[in-house]
């Protein structure tokens, strides 16, 4: 430990890293040499022969050596030195610097998000951009929004909700059913879906008010399953597991995105392509996600937001300060659910099809993972986690280059979740509190004070 911290101070210690790597290489070769390097097979005469595949074993050994070298030269010293940097006392200047940094990052990211579809069109052409705008852009932004919505419930109010996808489903089915049966437009149904989801959030909230921690998690999980099972079995209402199809699309102030003469493409004299609709949807979900972020940031500075955070910290203390914990929990559930409802109605409009398949527990788990991985309570962290989780899984679909290494019968799709799981474990080891774990104070007094030495030196009482 002492050596590695010395190394961190004086730059990476390559000698030690090389020794480390060599040792790992010997162990790896001893293991993989016989296991991988020698393969037994039957030949034409049904005789057992040993095939020499030493090349593969050497390749694996090389990967181990290189990996170990990088770990001991760069990663371990970085981890060792990181622990020492964390400081308890934040001066107002440090807080200001941190929030300015966050603001700059957010501004840069926002600018990128605003030009993203046009960048994709420039790089991949109108048709080629569809995949990047739809599979990556829209998909990730839906999860960013869901993550930010759940962040209110888990990150701020500290209520572990494992059935969040139920409200997403409520929003999606509200839009699907009301749009088909009553022919209402997306712009009326968007707020309505949010209100309906918030209403269901309250309905869930009431019975679980007295529960906390694990018990709350179990009941919310059950609630998510109940909604899904009702949707499957109440066939007259929801169409059962077949779902609801041909849900109307979103229109831009009445302009449809189709091939008709009044359609968007004809109107602006553009060649017909579904890319325009995708780009429009992209900006729509971007706006919805930003609305979620804006509302959350504002609420954090209002009494209700402070009460949420205080509730997460200590419920007994909250009550003794005159905070109505019942209302505080219910509003957290309701507002969190409302944003899931917005996202759900967007989801239904985008897919044009909803079925209970889309609202399984795995979805809830992914959203919870995004919030936890991002750092509970941190907006930037949750956004990063959504990009990594959803963008990462999408990217892992394109691992075909690994066929060069592992031969043609290697199917990258089967390893997608494995790699993904490993990445998550690694993240939790390196950053156990999520990508962005520092909580930004909501209020800072900017005042310089000298702290006298004798006060600082006094031990913990």
């Amino acid at each position: 430990m002492a050596e590695s911290s010395k190394a961190a101070a004086a730059g990476p210690d390559f000698g030690k890293a090389a020794k480390d790597a060599l040792l790992s290489g010997i162990i790896a070769f001893a293991l993989f040499g016989p296991l991988v390097g020698l393969r037994t097979a039957q030949n034409m005469n049904n005789e057992l022969v040993v095939l020499n595949e030493l090349g593969k074993a050497l390749l694996i050994t090389a990967i181990v050596v290189a990996g170990r070298f990088l770990l001991s030269a760069f990663v371990f010293p970085a981890i060792a030195s990181r622990g020492k940097k964390s400081k308890a006392i934040l001066t107002p200047e440090e807080v200001a610097a941190a929030s300015a940094r966050t603001r700059n990052v957010s501004r840069g990211a926002l600018l990128f998000l605003l030009v993203y579809p046009f960048l994709m069109v420039l790089i991949f052409g109108v048709q080629g951009s569809i995949k990047w705008v739809d599979n990556f852009g829209i998909q990730i932004l839906i999860y960013v929004m869901l993550g930010w919505g759940l962040n209110i419930v888990i990150g701020l109010a500290g209520l572990l909700d494992l059935g969040y996808v139920a409200f997403y489903a409520v929003g999606a089915y509200s839009y699907a059913l009301l749009a088909i049966n009553f022919d209402l437009s997306f712009w009326i149904l968007l707020p309505l879906s949010g209100i309906l989801a918030a209403f269901w959030g309250m309905i869930l909230g009431f019975p679980v008010l007295r529960l906390r921690g694990d018990y709350l998690a179990i009941v919310t999980l059950a609630f998510g399953e109940i909604i899904r099972l009702v949707l499957i079995n109440w066939k007259d209402f929801s169409g059962g597991s077949a779902g609801i199809s041909s849900i109307p699309k979103v229109t831009l102030f009445g302009i449809k995105f189709d091939a008709s003469p009044e359609g968007f493409a004809k109107m602006f004299d553009l060649p017909m392509s579904s890319a325009y609709y995708k780009i429009f949807l992209y900006y729509l979900i971007l706006a919805l996600a930003l609305l979620t972020a804006y509302v959350t940031l504002r609420l954090r500075r209002l009494p209700i937001g402070r009460a949420w955070e205080a509730l997460r910290e200590d419920e007994v203390a909250c009550r003794s300060l005159g905070i109505n914990t019942t209302n505080t929990k219910l509003t957290a559930f309701a507002i969190g659910a409302m944003f899931a409802g917005f996202a759900g109605s967007f989801f239904a409009a985008r897919q044009g099809f909803v079925s209970p398949e889309s609202f399984v527990f795995m979805e809830s788990a992914v959203i919870v993972a995004i919030v936890v991985l991002g750092g509970m309570g941190s907006m930037v962290g949750v956004a990063i986690a959504a990009v990594v989780m959803i963008g990462g899984t999408e990217l892992l679909r394109e691992l075909s280059f690994l066929k060069v290494v592992f031969g043609n019968d290697f199917n990258p799709d089967q390893f997608r979740m494995l790699i993904f799981g490993l990445a998550m474990v690694a993240t939790m080891i390196v950053r156990p509190r999520g990508f962005v774990s520092a909580r930004q104070p909501t209020a800072v007094l900017f005042e310089r004070k000298a702290i006298s030495g004798d006060l600082v030196k006094e031990g913990h009482g």
Partner: protein, 245 residues
């Protein structure tokens, strides 16, 4: 000063509190008059903290009556009791660890929506100068004594008429205990704040209090002025002998 005449600010009459089927308070009578420091001493598990929590409505008393300024608060939810300007610093301090000292104080002032925040915060900094130095530090990183100071200051930010403190000396060094008890005495003397103090540290509590109650197994067994109880041989044998802690 043993001003026991006049109507009490807080009157606890025949209160019985249960945890499930287990009886914790077996009919307790306690009076707290305006401007008094009243302390309740007793051993572990006597029911001291339960009485304080019962006054605050969590858990609620199954039998008996609790009145505050003549108003029945026995069946009121905790947040409404807090609105009557009863402030409580619960056992184990219970500050908000991830929030800064400033934010903790703001939470204390949430009843008035920060209307008097600056003015009241200045008073707290006079009372506990250490808090001012730690203003932007997270609550969880404070020392035990500082956390206790913060817990009391947070309770005071609600501008209470009655301050209820549950074991403010718990786990603190003697010097810090003295500082905190001095602060309580100061608040009572200069602002006429009424204090109901639950303590195991009988020596300091009895010295500070105008009147005191001794609780054993959910029953009040003795009452008198702080000085009387300090000199009472039974109290001395049970709570004071074996060193003044």
């Amino acid at each position: 000063m043993t001003a026991t005449n006049g109507s009490p600010l807080l009157a606890i009459r025949g209160v019985k509190t249960y945890y499930g089927n287990i009886i914790a308070l077996k009919g307790v009578d306690v009076d707290v008059h305006p401007g008094e420091i009243v302390t309740l001493i007793g051993a572990n598990g006597a029911g001291k903290s339960t009485l304080m929590m019962t006054v605050f409505g969590s858990p609620q008393a199954r039998e008996g009556r609790i009145t505050y300024q003549g108003q029945d608060i026995t069946r009121m939810p905790p947040h409404e009791i807090a609105r009557l300007r009863i402030a409580q610093s619960p056992e184990g301090r219970r500050i908000f660890p991830r929030m800064t000292v400033l934010e903790n104080l703001q939470m204390g002032a949430s009843l008035d929506g920060l209307k008097y925040f600056d003015e009241d915060a200045e008073k707290m900094f006079v009372l506990f100068p250490r808090l001012k130095e730690r203003l932007n530090q997270r609550g969880g990183t404070l020392s035990g004594g500082e956390q206790q100071m913060l817990a009391i200051a947070r309770a005071l930010m609600a501008r209470p008429k009655l301050l209820m403190l549950d074991e403010p000396s718990l786990g603190l060094a003697p010097l810090i205990v003295k500082q905190i008890f001095d602060a309580i005495r100061e608040l009572n003397r200069t602002q006429g704040l009424t204090v109901f103090l639950v303590e195991q540290n009988a020596y300091h509590a009895l010295k500070l209090a105008h009147r005191a109650y001794v609780m054993v197994n959910g029953v009040i067994t003795m009452t008198g002025s702080g000085r009387e109880l300090l000199e009472n041989p039974e109290v001395r044998a049970a709570y004071l002998e074996g060193g003044r802690h």
